[in-house]
């Protein structure tokens, strides 16, 4: 099975991207805020951006090695690149876009269900169709590495979910070393085997989507994964727990060990809502006022003034939750992480 190794320093407009990564036959997502150097990482692998130092290799071929002065041109590397907004050639038909690298398009067009669009030109296509054309074009050269830059960002939310499932199946089937850039943690969790969080050119954390959710390494990773963040001051508490006095008022307990200023991280799905405080020692209680209720799939996101909880529709009915109402957010000390 193929594999991609990179260990590079690439200058960008604002800072230097430093990234060391081994990608086996798997999908690794690079997530992070815009301007973190995600696209630069893909460009470096494709040969469109030149690293200042480092090495890039694919299986036994060295594509770039600064010390040995190796630098293969993009056309010599075997990379399938799906660009942000797809970068389809606007003056060529779908078929000619796909066969630009040579070979035949029939099979790929069939497989991606765009055979009927073979003669159409890209400006006439919908977002989902363009995405498939871009994938077909990237795969036409039988690449050894696949690079996907925000493949779902240009799609409307309605198309997005369906296309995400298709892309997931396709990636599993291809089993190519794949680098996927996204700013959406949900996309990353759905498509990738491992997720790397890139902030200001540095890899903050690399792990499975589960790892990142369970043990985010810092506040940025936690908030990126959707956690509630509360600032506070940690001191030693009872029962070997850490007591945290919150900046916004109230005291909570965590099983994590820390002293001094900390950021408390709690995931919305670990928070339950009660009408009043129930006495239970390992539980944290934060009373609050409901700001909004937003359905997300079969659950409801309830935003309180200090944190967000994710509960079932049944709970919403049982507690008669409505904006302006008062509830108590309850969560376990073991699910309260200190960062």
């Amino acid at each position: 099975m193929g594999s991609l190794h990179l260990d590079v320093a690439v200058p960008t407009r604002s800072y230097e991207l430093r990234l060391a990564l081994d990608v086996a036959a798997e999908t690794v997502a690079l997530v992070g805020p815009s301007g973190a150097g995600k696209t630069t990482a893909l460009d470096a692998v494709a040969g469109l951006a030149r690293p200042r130092a480092g090495r890039i290799s694919c299986e036994d071929d060295v594509w770039f090695d600064r010390e040995r002065r190796v630098d293969w041109r993009p056309e010599q590397r075997s990379v399938g690149y799906v660009f942000q907004e797809y970068a389809l050639f606007p003056h060529l038909s779908v078929e000619r876009n796909v066969t630009f690298a040579g070979g035949r398009a029939d099979g790929l067009l069939e497989r991606l269900r765009i055979a009927h669009l073979a003669r159409a030109k890209p400006p006439a296509l919908s977002g989902g169709e363009r995405q498939r054309v871009a994938l077909a074009r990237a795969l036409a050269r039988s690449p050894r590495v696949l690079l996907l830059d925000e493949p779902l960002a240009a799609l409307d939310p309605h198309t997005r979910t369906g296309v995400r499932v298709e892309l997931h199946d396709l990636l599993r089937e291809l089993r190519l070393p794949t680098l996927l850039v996204t700013h959406d943690f949900e996309d990353a969790a759905a498509l990738a085997d491992r997720v790397g969080v890139l902030v200001e050119g540095r890899l903050r954390q690399l792990g499975t989507p589960g790892d990142l959710l369970a043990a985010p390494s810092d506040p940025f990773v936690a908030s990126f994964a959707g956690a509630n963040l509360l600032a506070g001051e940690a001191t030693s508490g009872p029962n070997e727990l850490t007591e945290v006095r919150l900046a916004l008022g109230g005291t909570i307990y965590s099983a994590d060990d820390a002293r001094g200023p900390v950021t408390v991280s709690i995931f919305p799905w670990d928070v339950t809502l009660e009408e009043q405080v129930t006495q239970e020692s390992a539980m944290n209680h934060l009373p609050g006022e409901i700001v909004s209720l937003v359905p997300v799939g079969n659950r409801v996101r309830v935003r309180l003034d200090r944190l967000t909880a994710e509960v079932t529709g049944a709970s919403v009915e049982r507690l008669a939750l409505r904006p302006g109402g008062r509830v108590v957010a309850t969560f376990k000390a073991t699910q309260t992480r200190l960062l």
């Binding site: 469109l48 660009f83 970068a87 003056h91 400006p123 050269r141």
Partner: protein
């Protein structure tokens, strides 16, 4: 009241401006009956000048396209030290009187000029030849083409070039299949403007190549030569220029229209810096 006055002042200024710009052009066609006008086009002065103009313009234009297109591509796609200076130098001839271009060409290529000895050794004497006309026309129209062509190549999205390269395309294929077709509307417009400027070239030509009927006398030079001897011939040539000009402007409009449909709605074409 003052609003009414303002409207009146603006309308008056516009009327004067339009009349001033259109009157000489209309006059060309009104001075002599149209039939007589085109009868003048049978004279030998006109026919000789037409042949010289068409031949020299086409050769000069072909040279400008052949050398200018790769030059514009290079300047548009590469970032190198001194690029800003190069861009300024390209535009310099635009603000020079053509007569200065004529003097400069003599200083460079004339018998006693910079390359005079070298050309003499090769047995080449440019003075009063069609080659001199071609050099003068090419020199004067080049900046017009280069400026438009650089803007046209700059408007091609870098990501499309990058996509072509990751798909295995070498530099020839990237140029021929992606950059050239996508820049074509802009190149066409720049080419039309440059050709029109070349056809109308006067100052540099008369100084560097002279005005010999049948050899170096182009249509604009023929107007100058004829307007004291036979004003009707001068008018007829003038009328022809007006018609050619209208055709070029229509072509230009057509290219402008083609540009707006040839690019994806998601990537508005970058407007030219010129």
């Amino acid at each position: 009241m003052s609003r009414y006055l303002f409207g009146l002042v603006v309308a008056f200024a516009a009327a004067v401006a339009f009349a001033f710009l259109l009157l000489p052009i209309v006059a060309i066609f009104l001075q002599v009956p149209i039939g007589d006008l085109f009868a003048q086009l049978g004279t030998s002065v006109f026919r000789d000048a037409l042949v010289v103009s068409v031949k020299t313009s086409l050769i000069a234009h072909a040279l400008v396209l052949a050398f200018g297109t790769p030059t514009a591509y290079l300047i548009a796609r590469r970032r190198f030290p001194g690029r800003g200076l190069v861009l300024t130098l390209i535009e310099l001839p635009l603000v020079l009187p053509p007569a200065v271009a004529g003097v400069g060409l003599i200083a460079a290529f004339g018998r006693f000029g910079l390359l005079g000895d070298e050309l003499d050794a090769l047995g080449i004497d440019l003075a009063f030849t069609q080659a001199a006309v071609i050099l003068a026309v090419a020199f004067v129209e080049s900046p017009f083409y280069l400026r438009g062509a650089i803007a046209a190549f700059e408007s091609v999205d870098d990501r499309l070039i990058g996509a072509a390269r990751t798909l295995g395309a070498g530099p020839w294929r990237v140029f021929g299949r992606i950059a050239l077709p996508l820049a074509a509307p802009g190149l066409g417009a720049a080419s039309a403007v440059a050709l029109a400027r070349g056809l109308g070239e006067f100052g540099a030509t008369i100084i560097f190549a002279g005005s010999l009927q049948g050899v170096t006398q182009t249509l604009p030079l023929a107007i100058y030569a004829q307007f004291e001897q036979d004003f009707d011939v001068a008018l007829a040539i003038g009328a022809l220029f007006v018609l050619v000009g209208v055709c070029l402007l229509l072509t230009f409009r057509l290219f402008g229209w083609a540009r707006s449909i040839s690019t994806s709605p998601f990537r508005p074409a970058a407007t030219s810096s010129g």
